[in-house]
């Protein structure tokens, strides 16, 4: 029995940190998709060496290995869809080294984004990627999914801040890729290949990250429109006028209504859309940009109301409506399909219109909100879980949404990744030749297909 032999070797390696009982396997069977796939064994390594040993055993016996961070993903990236080993890196959460002068930090993959930011703040530094899950997602997970966040408009996404990685290959080989150098063009950029590879090519155990000074000042502005098309056009106008906000978030009518009710917020009832804009930088810079922005908003069509936050607590209030949407959606229906599509900035208005048509066609509420500044929209199709007809229509509606996105030259995912929930659409987006190339890359890294099999359509 090879499985038995593998298991006893894992037990010998990790002792009580190798879990095979039913109770423990349940605890590592889910993520934020709420789907469940039980692994056969859970391992909790505490060093790169242990990760390497686990992979040596797994490759010898050809057992699937699924790396896992904080389990907060939205596409099932860390689920053991084919059983095997759940490789949880949650105990590897140390800050390995910190170079304040060169603004670099080296961390283990299991550290939460939040803990890292907490460590950096007293030094006046930050790690710019800020996925909405920043308080409960790991850096390893952020790297695997190439996560973005509201600040991506100005600061880019995870890959823009990763300098080097320590990775473990499927056969257990440990290697360092990338470097601390600002300029470095020696060979293929393997770091960029690993970032966003969803654990299908290698296990990331450590990362060298570039940091940025915390902005001196942040200003928040809320603008309310009576027509969502006008809001979308304004987003485009803002960017065209070379104002680069830190964040440019947008919320549609249904979401405004849901949060107004849930939180008793003072929002106009004729509001069709809302923009929340953050500008950061030096004091002078922020003041000048705010002035420019206010002038621009005043000249825009369809503006019902706008507010500039006087201080951080007012800013927090303005943000509250945006941050509270996800949980308040339950008030509309208990089921939702939530996808993070992206379209070119100039196509946001068209895309919103399309989702409204789709909503009417399938007779289901669709709620849109998200990071308008980078064209990333969270489309939420709402349905009742106990109504099979609604559920079926919701799946069809999402299919139409994806098709529209691709027609407009967009992407099926801006930050959540492909995982299992979007694996049937990736080929439609990237095309068969690119998909074939990806399969060959996967094979080069992982000939026996043991690393996170069944993901990304590979």
């Amino acid at each position: 029995m090879s499985a038995k032999a593998a298991l006893s070797r894992l037990k010998r390696l990790l002792g009580s940190r190798c879990l095979t009982d039913k109770l423990s396997r349940v605890q590592y069977s889910y993520d934020a998709t709420q789907l469940q796939y039980e692994p056969d064994v859970v391992v909790l390594p505490e060093s790169t060496k242990e990760v390497s040993e686990v992979l040596k055993i797994a490759s010898k016996y050809r057992i699937p290995v699924v790396p896992r961070g904080w389990g907060s993903g939205f596409t099932g990236g860390c689920l053991n869809v084919r059983g095997g080993i759940a490789l949880s890196l949650e105990r590897m959460d140390a800050i390995v080294s910190f170079d304040q002068e060169n603004m670099l930090v080296r961390v283990q993959a299991g550290i939460a984004n939040y803990r890292l930011q907490e460590f950096l703040r007293p030094f006046g530094l930050m790690f710019p990627p800020d996925p909405s899950s920043w308080k409960f997602s790991s850096i390893g997970g952020n790297i695997a999914e190439n996560a973005g966040g509201p600040r991506a408009v100005k600061y880019g996404v995870t890959k823009n801040w990763v300098k080097a990685l320590q990775i473990v290959l499927a056969d257990g080989t440990v290697m360092e890729i990338g470097s601390a150098n600002v300029k470095d063009v020696a060979g293929y950029d393997l770091v960029d290949l690993i970032v966003g590879s969803e654990g299908t090519l290698a296990v990331v155990t450590e990362a060298l990250l570039r940091l940025h000074p915390l902005p001196e000042c942040v200003k928040t502005i809320q603008v309310i429109f009576n027509d969502i098309q006008k809001a979308a056009e304004t987003v485009f106008t803002i960017m065209k006028n070379r104002i680069i906000p830190t964040a440019l978030e947008f919320v549609d009518r249904a979401a405004i209504n849901a949060t107004r009710e849930a939180l008793q917020l003072d929002l106009p009832t004729d509001a069709d859309a809302m923009l929340i804009i953050d500008i950061d930088g030096s004091k002078a810079q922020v003041e000048e940009e705010t002035k420019k922005l206010v002038k621009l908003i005043k000249g825009s069509d369809g503006v019902v109301d706008f507010k500039v936050a006087k201080d951080s607590s007012e800013a927090e209030e303005l943000w509250l409506a945006r941050r509270s949407i996800s949980p308040t959606l339950k008030r509309i229906a208990d089921g939702k399909i939530n996808e993070d599509i992206v379209v070119p900035l100039s196509k946001i208005a068209t895309m919103i219109k399309k989702t409204q048509e789709i909503s009417r066609r399938y007779r289901l509420p669709i709620i849109n909100f998200g990071h308008a500044g980078d064209g990333n929209i969270h489309v939420n199709i709402m349905y009742h879980k106990d109504n099979n007809d609604e559920k079926r229509r919701a799946i069809q509606a999402m299919d139409d949404v994806f098709k529209s996105v691709l027609q407009l030259g967009g992407s099926i995912t801006g930050e959540h990744g492909v995982g299992i929930t979007k694996k049937d659409y990736i080929e439609m987006q990237v095309g068969t030749p690119a998909m074939e190339l990806m399969r060959r890359i996967k094979k080069a890294f992982d000939p026996d297909n043991i690393l996170n099999p069944g993901k990304m359509g590979l």
Binding site: V26, Q27, A32, W70, G71, K135, D334
Partner: protein, 420 residues
């Protein structure tokens, strides 16, 4: 099963936000020791996919402080504490309770047995316990420890005198403005805290009574999942509150108060006794924390004088989160002393009732983080509104060599500030 329990399970969307706030997870770094894990486990338990007893649970479900930090952080308000409580009940309904918890329940159900235990330990105190000199608060430790003598536990003082109830007891029907329910820790060990409250009431001219037939509230029994024994105590307490001729029932211990205010109702929901659920809700309207009472219903604030103490304040979970009492103590402490807010004031101290007995090492690790934040404020007095936290943090400060920082109950500070 009440449908509210199933709704509680469904409220969790597995986002993982609880992992960032849970004090137990911060130390253990494993999914089974966080709200999302508990909820997932319970969902499988009620589906019948898994089965375990406390002894075979691998501490899952049990290594939880019930501090409700996750409930506060949850965007969907998933009541993890409710799920953990009910899950523990579910487990012992199918299997039995560990022996020591059965004995504990037996003693706690009877005031006579508890008084007896108190008297016995009081009589033997000189023999069994020794005073720790210069601790952050009057404290003792066991003279002889069998196995691990390096783990000299710091305990509250063992009093040989009368308990708080014996000292102030009145008939149950006596008319007064407030009734005082001390809670067992103040009744038997931290009687000074109870005395301080009595002193304040006298100073403010507020009449009070202390019903002599008040039983234990049942919180520790309930937390172990032993709902049947807790039920008896809850009913006796509700009946007592119903017949009192007072405006408010002041429950000095936050754990007892929040248990009587919020959990009695839940207890009867779990047991599917809607009539009693209603009576519990009604009785809860009368019950209040002493500091909240003093702040909202008396003129204490205008009578406080500044003492010279440099203070900081620790939020007890059962004050801040369950009773939403955090603004009141701060305003009063500010008026009575030189106050500095500490970082993470509302992070659990790690006591968690029987948690500190079941998982002493983990409990100490959690307390240790708190000590760092206390020390940073440069305060000479740590003010706490809960005896259990006071016991935990007194021990932690002593263990880490900070005997110079004294621990004091909010009521003791207020009594002092009225005298200056």
């Amino acid at each position: 099963m009440d449908k509210r329990i199933l709704q509680a399970v469904e409220a969790c969307v597995k986002c993982g936000i609880c992992r960032g706030v849970c004090p137990v997870f911060r130390e253990e770094k494993q999914e089974p020791f966080v709200a999302r894990g508990h909820i997932a486990l319970f969902a499988e338990l009620i589906k019948g996919n898994i089965d375990f007893r406390e002894e075979t649970s691998k501490d899952y479900l049990y290594k939880c402080l019930l501090c409700t930090t996750c409930v506060e952080a949850c965007p969907n308000d998933a009541p993890t504490d409710m799920i953990v409580e009910f899950a523990r009940y579910h487990v012992i309904k199918h299997h039995s309770l560990p022996l020591y918890k059965r004995v504990m329940a037996r003693v706690m159900k009877s005031r006579t047995l508890m008084d007896l235990a108190h008297r016995t330990s009081g009589l033997l105190s000189g023999l069994l316990f020794e005073r720790i000199e210069n601790a952050p608060r009057e404290a003792t430790r066991v003279r002889f420890t069998a196995a691990d003598s390096d783990k000299m536990e710091v305990l509250p003082p063992v009093k040989s005198g009368r308990s708080f109830i014996q000292k102030y007891k009145t008939g149950s029907l006596e008319r007064a403005t407030v009734a005082i329910f001390p809670g067992c820790l103040i009744n038997y060990t931290y009687t000074d805290v109870g005395d301080a409250f009595v002193k304040i009431l006298k100073r403010l001219g507020i009449s009070f009574m202390v019903p002599q037939d008040q039983p234990c509230c049942g919180a520790p029994i309930f937390a172990s999942g032993n709902l049947k024994d807790a039920e008896q105590l809850a009913k006796r307490n509700i009946e007592l509150v119903e017949k009192l001729n007072v405006e408010k029932v002041v429950v000095l211990e936050p754990t007892c108060a929040s248990f009587m205010i919020h959990e009695y109702e839940r207890l009867f929901m779990y047991l599917e006794q809607p009539e009693w659920e209603k009576r519990a809700r009604k009785a809860a309207e009368k019950i209040i924390d002493p500091v909240k009472y003093l702040f909202h219903f008396t003129q204490i604030k205008s009578k406080l004088n500044q003492t010279r103490l440099k203070t900081t304040y620790h939020d007890a979970c059962h004050l801040k989160r369950t009773q939403k009492v955090y603004m009141e103590p701060r305003e009063l402490i500010r008026a009575a002393s030189n106050f500095t807010e500490m970082k993470g004031a509302d992070v659990c101290c790690g006591n968690g009732g029987t948690f500190s007995v079941d998982y002493p090492e983990l409990s100490k690790k959690i307390a240790s983080r708190k000590v760092k934040n206390i020390v940073k404020t440069d305060a000479d007095h740590l003010i706490v509104g809960c005896s259990a936290c006071m016991m935990q943090l007194t021990a932690a400060l002593h263990r880490e060599g900070f005997d110079g920082i004294k621990t004091m109950h909010t009521l003791e500070l207020l009594a002092m500030a009225l005298e200056v």
